[in-house]
Symmetry: C2
Subunit: 333 residues, 2 copies
């Protein structure tokens, strides 16, 4: 048994609640949902998200914004109580700590921001009879497989960061909720996602460093880390493709990503320098990890999502080059 929009019946207004909707990926998703005619409510604590990335409810009547800390049981319930004035069709859960090193330093960060947001929003979903739940999981759930291609069927999973651990914990709790009350759960394991409005990540960091010192770009690690990247526009397209499917298992767990082998940090550094500050010297560090909990190299198998008729418009190189340009422009460079 699973539920798709066609279950709702033609003509009814779809109400989508987007948790963490004021963040990088969330704000892109919100625009796409509004473009499709959904009613959209964003719940975000604005700890990393930004209110100005979202529409103005005065001029966009189908849009509402609620500031709340979803990890807090009372705040979460109050926010859902307010949202449920219009019955909620689906939850998109993109609220999480996005600063992996911060979570490595203090596990409480990912406990609260990455896991308890899931836990409390599922309790709210149960109380408000929400039947469809879409989740932003992560390739970080896999841990370091030393080059073994990452397929959804791998096990056992051994995440190496608290962030990855709390994403896997969230997946587990969503599965239990699907047994108990959800009609459909889509768990997307995100790759490295690039684009604007960037708030973190390697491209964002490099451009920030060059803005401070245009003569020198210091890179953590030796630059050999190699990963695939997906542009946020393609990611949103993938999630909407999966959400729109009329068939499939009740719990869908799938990798989302490009099909290519990715690019190295060295190539990204050179591309950023070429676009932003071509006379800068690049200074590499040592080792193949940018930080504790970083996975230096992985191949991401994405056949399942491609079999659903989605493929990215931009491969890793094109996605990174577009994101460099996006971010540079957003900073007036």
């Amino acid at each position: 048994m699973f539920e798709t929009l066609s279950t709702l019946g033609g003509g009814a207004q779809v109400h989508s609640v987007v948790l963490g909707g004021a963040g990088f990926i969330g704000s892109n998703l919100v625009r796409a949902l509004l473009d499709r005619g959904h009613r959209v409510t964003v719940i975000d604590n604005l700890s990393r998200g930004q209110r100005q990335l979202l529409p103005d409810p005065d001029t966009t009547p189908l849009f509402s914004f609620i500031q709340a800390n979803l990890a807090d049981p009372r705040e979460c319930e109050a926010a859902f109580e307010q949202s449920a004035v219009y019955p909620i069709w689906e939850i998109w859960h993109l609220a999480a700590n996005s600063d992996i090193p911060a979570g490595v330093r203090d596990p409480n960060v990912d406990l609260h921001d990455t896991f308890l947001t899931t836990f409390e929003s599922l309790r709210a979903a149960s109380r408000h009879s929400v039947r469809v739940y879409h989740f932003a999981s992560s390739s970080a759930v896999y841990g370091d497989w030393h080059g073994v291609p990452l397929r959804e069927t791998l096990g056992p999973l051994r995440p190496i960061s608290n962030y990855g651990a709390m994403k896997l914990a969230s997946e587990a709790q969503i599965c239990a909720a699907a047994e108990a009350f959800l009609g459909k759960a889509n768990i997307h394991r995100f790759p490295n996602v690039v684009g604007v409005p960037a708030t973190h990540g390697v491209i964002f960091d490099f451009i920030g460093r060059l803005a401070r010192d245009p003569t020198r770009l210091v890179v953590l690690g030796n630059g050999t880390q190699q990963k695939a990247y997906l542009h946020v526009s393609d990611l949103v397209g993938a999630m909407l493709t999966v959400a729109g499917r009329e068939t499939g298992p009740k719990i869908e767990i799938l990798n989302v990503g490009a099909v290519d082998a990715g690019v190295t940090v060295r190539w990204i550094a050179e591309s950023v320098v070429a676009r932003v500050s071509s006379r800068a010297e690049i200074v590499f560090g040592e080792g193949d990890r940018g930080w504790l909990g970083d996975v230096p190299k992985f191949r991401y198998e994405t056949e399942r999502v491609h079999s659903y008729g989605w493929s990215p418009k931009l491969d890793s190189k094109a996605a990174v080059l577009r994101a460099i340009d996006d971010i540079a422009r957003s900073r007036g460079l």
Copy 2:
């Protein structure tokens, strides 16, 4: 890199802290560790455990007991502070909600008792430089695979109870801790375990019902649920075998269990009636699940632990018959 007792050096006193040591499995483990000459500290909130299952510290000087709620950050830290008077070599984490249906009714039960006990004890392990962590995980992490043999390499895992979800969440957090600071983590996925001092489970329930009404045994479900069972004495033997290995991966994740196909609930009901109240009528319910979140039938692959030289002395039938007798005797039947 991994750590075993030989790393500690000959002659040093091994200090084992057993979380949930006043419970069914924990109290059996505590006796085995004391028999091996370890110093043992039990931390238990006595919500389901019982103080009288444990030795008296006055007559067993190597044993200490601390009552604390491990899910509470302050209580957990205070208990570890007190334990660490003798440097802690290893943690055995067996504290959890053991009442799966209770956790299905209220997800907060498993959040606190099953997951936050793991989370907080790992933080304490980090602060007190504990390098070895043994964890009681569960076959419930797998969810319902409809008869596919459950191997450690299966994925993706979709637990169907909050209990299974919070055991998987615990595994994930332990893996992240192993990346950050642990020297060795052994994650045992327990099967159905039987024996005394039983506090729950199908045999315990059946004997309790017959004690109340010796003429009638009402069984939840139609009795066709089939599972393998392991006697607690064999389980403790398996854990100590794994703990004593000098080689192996830093994170060991393995199923522990018997090699047979198991026994049905109907066979257990008949065996209990034969031992306890031979004139009782057995009344079966409908459906193949005892409760929401119950997995009706599974085959448990345990080749990995057997390859380490351990095998159970009792198969499922023998384990269940012994446990029926154990429990009946403990109730004076």
